[in-house]
Amino acid sequence: MINRDLYIHSWDLRQDVLDIVMAGGGGHIGGDMSLLFPLMLLYEKHMRVSPETAKDPNRDRFVLSKGHSMEAYYAVLADCGFLDLQDIKARFNQLGSPYIGHPHNVLPGIEMNSGSLGHGLPVSVGMALAGKMDRRDYRVYTILGDGELAEGSVWEAAMAASQYGLDNLCAVVDRNRLQISGTTEDVMHQDSLEDRWAAFGWNVVSVDGNNLDALDAAFEIAKTTKDRPTVILSNSTKGYGSPVMENKAGWHHKVPTAEEYEAIKADFAKGKEAAIHAQ
């Protein structure tokens, strides 16, 4: 495994997410778990941004279009030094807190607010266009949920991104196949996403979203693809990391009971232990 250390560390971040959700008494833990791998890879490996360069015009940009996966974003931003994990846990969802359930760009490292779905891709197109206009070599990344793809504004932006040949733009679709009311295919059918994005002129890379190395390779493909944007279809598992939550739509925004917390925590510890001993 190429990204072995990152994989081992991912279990610590899953625990951080769980603790943030418990501390704030809310959150969207199922989606947090399914997009953690691409989010980690971006911030810990691929993106050219740090707390020191958070205002640098040449920094890479990230927009969490799937804004409700905020607890995962908090965990990653804290891990990269943008935010303080203890402060997040102490104040998440509390009266007057800056740590709310969606991206809040008064906080360091967060570019744009979201929450309502279908906003991140148009905004990312604007950022990528600005990069082209200014001949800067920064890249723009955004992560969308698969349920989010029912928003028409996503496809308006998908058209514009290919029209303008935005090869500095990479979108990730967290394809966990579940949304709050059930499976994406029952709620609003979207297979084949590969065909749909390709029809809009995008370079499509479909990978196992529970595999760090596969996602890592996909981000490399995106970087070297010219004249068109890349979408990574990250075929993931909602609630990944603990059988308590995995593939259960009810865990879209469930807060674990004390008993469930202990079971999930034990699963994460087990996962980390196995990762350490894996080759």
Binding site: E111, V125, G126, M127, G131, M133, A157, A160
Partner: protein
């Protein structure tokens, strides 16, 4: 000779004058460059122009992304579409994310005349004003429009600007156009009645004051181009001196200039306030001039309403 330059053209000329030296100015259109009078800009500055197609949500989202990277986007689309179809993008991507997007609603109010309610923006002032961190401007003529755009180029906060489709008679001249950002312009002073208007309604309000004067009624006329933030200081200063207040706007009766004027006046110096506006209904079919006539949004109609209050 009547003015033939609509306010939208004044915006284009002002932006073109600055775009040469300020390469961060970007104009975005949603298949609306002709309606927006922005074709000359697109031709002169193709690298600072973005066409998004008929996609108003995308228009504002892209503009917000550009702004977050230091650009100064002006996003043009018919007021009826950009104020409602893109409303959430205006709220989240512009106001809430605090991006420097200037949203220009063209062909505002009933400019599109007989095209019907889908093309009328009689709710845009209410909608945009209700968003925290969103400013709302309705300039009255081409000279004021130029000053407003120049002021907006200097700041870094989002705003909504509504202009009409047709040329409007000048209120000011090139040499004499007093303008202070977020301050109403006092066009005429009189102690009987206060007329407060914005956008295309400033001209008939000013003419109404002339008609009233012929009857011995002295009116103050405020050009309240800054609907939000409303210049309450000037409003209240003159409201206190007058016996009654009349607001005039090309907008639905709820949530627009009249509502804001009445709110401020009733709280701080109660006077009778008459709010003249379009009805809470699809407007009658006709050109914008016919529509104004039908609803008495004319010098005669405004003067009659003012007189009836006294």
């Amino acid at each position: 000779m009547p003015n033939k330059i609509p306010n939208r053209q004044a915006i284009c000329e002002t932006l073109m004058a600055h775009a040469k030296t300020d390469r961060d100015i970007v104009v975005l259109c949603s298949d609306s460059r002709g309606s927006a009078s922005m074709t000359p800009f697109f031709n002169a500055y193709p690298e600072q122009s973005v066409e998004v197609g008929i996609a108003e949500q995308d228009l504002i989202g892209i503009a917000a992304g550009l702004a977050s990277c230091g650009k100064k986007p002006f996003a043009f689309s018919p007021a009826s579409f950009v104020s409602t179809r893109s409303y959430e993008q205006c709220k989240v991507d512009v106001a809430y994310s605090n991006t420097n997007v200037k949203i220009v609603g063209i062909s505002g109010g009933v400019s599109y005349g007989a095209l019907g309610m889908s093309h009328h923006s009689a709710q845009d002032i209410a909608a945009m004003s209700a968003i925290p961190n969103m400013r709302v401007y309705l300039p009255s003529d081409r000279h004021q429009t130029k000053h407003l755009i120049e002021a907006l180029l200097q700041d870094t906060q989002g705003a909504y600007i509504r202009v009409g489709r047709n040329p409007v008679e000048d209120i000011y001249t090139e040499e004499n156009c007093p303008f202070e950002m977020d301050k109403a312009t006092v066009l005429r002073e009189g102690g009987d009645v206060l007329l407060v208007a914005c956008g295309e309604m400033v001209r008939p309000a000013l003419d109404a004051a002339g008609l009233l004067a012929e009857k011995g009624i002295q009116a103050t006329v405020l050009d309240m181009y800054c609907v939000k933030p409303l210049d309450t200081q000037t409003l209240l200063r003159y409201a206190e001196k007058c016996k009654a207040v009349v607001s005039v706007e090309e907008h639905a009766p709820t949530g627009g200039l009249g509502s804001m004027v009445a709110q401020a006046v009733s709280e701080h110096c109660p006077r009778r306030v008459k709010c003249l506006s379009l009805p809470d209904a699809p407007v009658v079919t006709g050109t914008s001039a016919q529509v104004f006539e039908y609803y008495h949004l004319t010098p005669t109609g405004i003067a009659a309403s003012a007189e009836a209050l006294l």
